[in-house]
């Protein structure tokens, strides 16, 4: 009792408010597993933070030492292969789960008024996650790292007005140089995690402010609510544990490897970025640099502002499924380009 009072005096927490927060009523449809996809990337991000911190103990962000330090992590450091494999696989799964979460939100139309900002912050999370993946594989300093960064630098430079400036900022000069790796490292371990924490925080805050969205025409069992704790927390625990086992399995069965060391004078004959950039790479090959940058930029803007685009479409043609159709077509287009590039 004395200890409890000692703590209560020094940590004057309002336990009632905490209980109220944890007992937030959750709509019945969240009992379905695919509605737990929002928590998945958050969990995977935490895995990335922990494994990422451990990797920085050994990683050296210098062009002449980066590759060897990654090799050392993979081959010599105790459990280095495991930590690196968890980091790599959780990055793939995180990107996949963010994409799935976006798809779920899109096709259930839960981004609509008043949750437009929630969508926009979520879209920014997706973009940041892509950038995270890109800076991550650039750090390994293998051939894909170097030539991927070269392509990305050229794409950035081709953007109108601010493109050349942004490319210079990204590369630390007119070309890929010693500065580039340092910048990517700072982005990957400092700036992007901070940005992502802030965005995820804002996203969660908006979710809590608006409450979890209701389905437009819920089934009878979905009309009931259930408490966040322990019901939904246990659901998330199941998801997290399953993911952890999956990650361990992937790390053990397909540990992260290492391809050729970066060679700035020797572009590999066949190079592909990571799978999540396949669609942009294929589009780039199909349309050329300028067109690709312009169209991808426009598509990105439409994606970010989708709730407002959707509202406009529905105002013009009430009751029409044009928004859904447009989204489905866009998604199929991305899938088609991705498969095309994968098979090429």
């Amino acid at each position: 009792m004395i200890a409890k009072r000692f703590l209560a005096e020094r940590l004057p927490l309002r336990t009632g408010a905490l209980r109220e927060g944890l007992n937030e009523p959750i709509p019945g449809h969240l009992k379905r597993w695919w509605f737990a996809l929002g928590g998945t990337p958050l969990y995977l991000f935490l895995v990335q933070v922990v494994t990422g911190i451990l990797l920085t103990f050994y990683y050296v962000p210098a062009p002449d030492r980066a590759y060897d330090s990654v090799r050392r992590i993979t081959e010599e450091v105790s459990f280095g292969w495991w930590i690196r494999s968890l980091h790599r696989w959780s990055s793939h799964l995180m990107i996949a789960s963010v994409i799935l979460h976006v798809l779920r939100v899109f096709f259930t139309a839960t981004y609509r008024k008043p949750r437009e900002f929630t969508w926009m912050v979520g879209a920014a999370v997706l973009g940041t996650t892509f950038f995270f993946g890109f800076t991550g594989y650039s750090l390994v300093y293998e051939q894909l790292s170097y030539w991927g960064a070269t392509v990305a630098g050229n794409l950035t430079a081709a953007a109108p007005l601010v493109g050349p400036f942004l490319a210079r900022m990204l590369r630390g000069g007119e070309t890929i140089s010693d500065n580039t790796l340092t910048r990517f490292f700072v982005l990957h371990i400092g700036i992007l995690p901070t940005v992502l924490f802030l965005l995820v925080g804002a996203h969660l805050l908006l979710v809590r402010l608006h409450g979890v969205s209701r389905l437009e025409s819920p089934a009878e069992e979905d009309r009931r609510t259930f408490p966040f704790f322990p019901d939904h927390v246990l659901t998330e625990c199941v998801v997290f544990l399953t993911l952890t086992v999956l990650l361990n399995t992937l790390a053990c069965a397909f540990p992260a490897g290492l391809s050729e060391r970066a060679d700035p004078l020797n572009p590999p004959p066949h190079i592909k970025p990571e799978w999540y950039f396949y669609f942009t790479f294929r589009w780039l090959k199909l349309t050329g640099l300028k067109t690709a940058v312009a169209t991808l930029g426009a598509a990105g803007a439409v994606f970010l502002l989708w709730p407002f685009v959707d509202a406009g479409l529905r105002r013009r043609r009430p009751g029409s499924e044009a928004s859904l159709l447009l989204g489905a077509l866009g998604f199929l287009g991305v899938v088609a380009l991705t498969v095309w590039e994968a098979l090429a």
């Binding site: 009992k31 062009p63 002449d64 030492r65 590759y67 060897d68 105790s78 459990f79 292969w81 495991w82 322990p230 019901d231 246990l234 659901t235 625990c237 199941v238 544990l241 399953t242 952890t244 086992v245 361990n248 399995t249 790390a251 053990c252 060391r261 060679d263 700035p264 004078l265 020797n266």
Partner: protein, 469 residues
């Protein structure tokens, strides 16, 4: 799903999770468990050497553990084994071994490489014992200087101490004792007790035998350096050397690669090995660097070696991995022209003049007792080689200032006046000398006059506001 079912699922998944951690631990443990102890891979014979030498010579064992031989379990005995009948063999730790590992020993596993090496000029490096360089070292400098200088690179014959009856003297353990001054002896052309020639360790330093080290220019630079064969210095000043230094700092050379094929495993810069020995997409690796050489620039007058056209094509094929045919043909045209120039203007005339002086008895048969012999020796053996080798390897300073400029200055200002002074005593020698010097080859020198002087004066006055006299 009910709350209790969820709890049960969480519990079950937690167990699976812990199980998966055990798998991770097993894999990690396996990495350490299966990382072979060097000793476990060794033959029974080598295991004995390993245990004892781990205590007595831990650094040697440490080098070997880090080597490819160590990783494959090729131990001490596999290379050092000997027969009772071998002159250098002795019984050590219950087995017959030899201290010296010769190319014939390496040949047991590296047969093709040993055969290539046996055909190379490298394997004949000890033949330098018949050259003027050896006369200089042995007669004028002294034996000890030859051992620590020339023979550290060229190698020498391995001989053993013998008693009055001609029997090899052995120490208390039965180990044959080397004759005075012949050991250490890791020169490229070492003449071994088993009759083979060479020392693989000249480039592949024991006991690590690091392939990356052998590919570095510094490995060649131990011997291919200095005023009479400054290949390392020329390479370093050339664009090739500059590119190498830069590429090395950027981790682009990949020197540790097994095959190391230019254009495939690396492309940023060549080392000596790239052009003279290593594999290209069209050529196999060779341990006979002579097979890519189309001139020998070592003697007073440069000559083409046998099969030089094939060698030239080989070298051109290497060059064309990085350069266009126009560049490569142009380079060899410039190189040929520079060597021809040396031969016509300095090498052949110099040799003729020296032969005329000797024929007329104006210089003695005894080497290095006439001042003109020193002048001539340094002219072709140092400056002349620097000019030709600088031209071969695109080192402009060595081609010009260390090379042709020194050659021209010492030929016209020292060698010719010394020869004229000597030839005064014999009209036939004087005639022969003037006949050589009357060659149209020297028209340019003869034609130099007031016009050149005036132009130079104007140049210096214009640029530096001063004359040159």
């Amino acid at each position: 799903m009910t709350l209790n079912a969820k709890k049960a699922l969480v519990a079950a998944l937690s167990v699976v999770f812990l199980g998966s951690l055990l798998i991770v631990a097993w894999i990690e443990g396996g990495k350490q468990r299966f990382a072979p102890e060097p000793e476990s891979l060794l033959s029974e014979e080598s295991r004995g050497c390993y245990r004892c030498h781990l205590e007595k010579t831990p650094a040697i064992v440490g080098q070997w553990i880090g080597s490819r031989h160590g990783a494959l379990g090729i131990g001490c005995f596999e290379c050092h084994r000997a027969e009772e009948k071998d002159v250098d063999g002795w019984k050590h730790g219950g087995r017959w071994i030899a201290t010296i590992v010769t190319p014939d020993d390496c040949k047991r596993c590296h047969a093709a490489i040993a055969d290539e090496f046996s055909k190379s000029a490298h394997s004949r490096a000890a033949d330098v014992a018949g050259s003027m360089d050896a006369v200089l070292a042995e007669r004028l400098q002294g034996r000890a200087s030859a051992q620590v200088g020339c023979e550290r690179c060229h190698g020498m014959k391995v001989e053993f101490r013998r008693d009055e009856a001609g029997k090899i003297v052995k120490d208390s353990e039965g180990k044959p004792l080397f004759a005075e001054g012949v050991w250490p002896n890791t020169g490229m052309g070492r003449i071994n007790p088993d009759g083979s020639r060479g020392a693989c360790t000249a480039c592949h330093s024991r006991h690590r035998f690091d392939i990356a080290m052998a590919r570095r220019p510094e490995a060649c630079g131990k011997c291919h350096t200095g005023p009479d064969h400054p290949q390392e210095e020329i390479y370093t000043e050339s664009k090739h050397g500059v590119a190498f230094t830069n590429a090395l700092s950027q981790g682009l050379m990949h020197l540790e690669k097994r095959e190391w094929v230019v254009g495939r495993d690396y492309s940023a810069a060549p080392t000596c090995a790239t052009c003279h020995m290593s594999a290209t997409p069209d050529l196999p690796m060779t341990h006979d660097p002579s097979s890519r050489l189309s001139w020998t620039c070592r003697p007073a007058v440069s000559v083409h070696p046998e099969d030089w056209e094939i060698n030239r094509d080989n070298m051109k094929s290497v060059c064309m991995n990085c350069h266009s045919p126009a560049w490569v043909d142009g380079h060899f045209a410039q190189y040929d022209a520079a060597v021809d120039l040396w031969n016509r203007r300095f090498g052949e005339p110099g040799l003729k003049i020296m032969e005329a002086l000797a024929g007329a008895g104006l210089i003695t048969p005894k080497p290095f007792d006439d001042p003109i012999e020193w002048t001539w020796y340094f002219l072709w053996h140092r400056e002349g080689r620097q000019a030709r080798m600088g031209s071969a390897m695109m080192g402009p300073n060595y081609a010009q200032w260390e090379g042709f400029a020194e050659v021209a200055a010492h030929f016209f200002d020292r060698f010719v006046p010394q020869a004229r002074e000597l030839a005064k005593a014999r009209p036939e020698a004087s005639g022969a000398l003037e006949q050589v010097l009357a060659s149209p080859e020297y028209d340019g020198f003869r034609a130099a006059g007031d016009e050149d002087r005036s132009r130079a004066e104007a140049f210096y006055r214009g640029r530096y506001r001063q004359g040159i006299r």
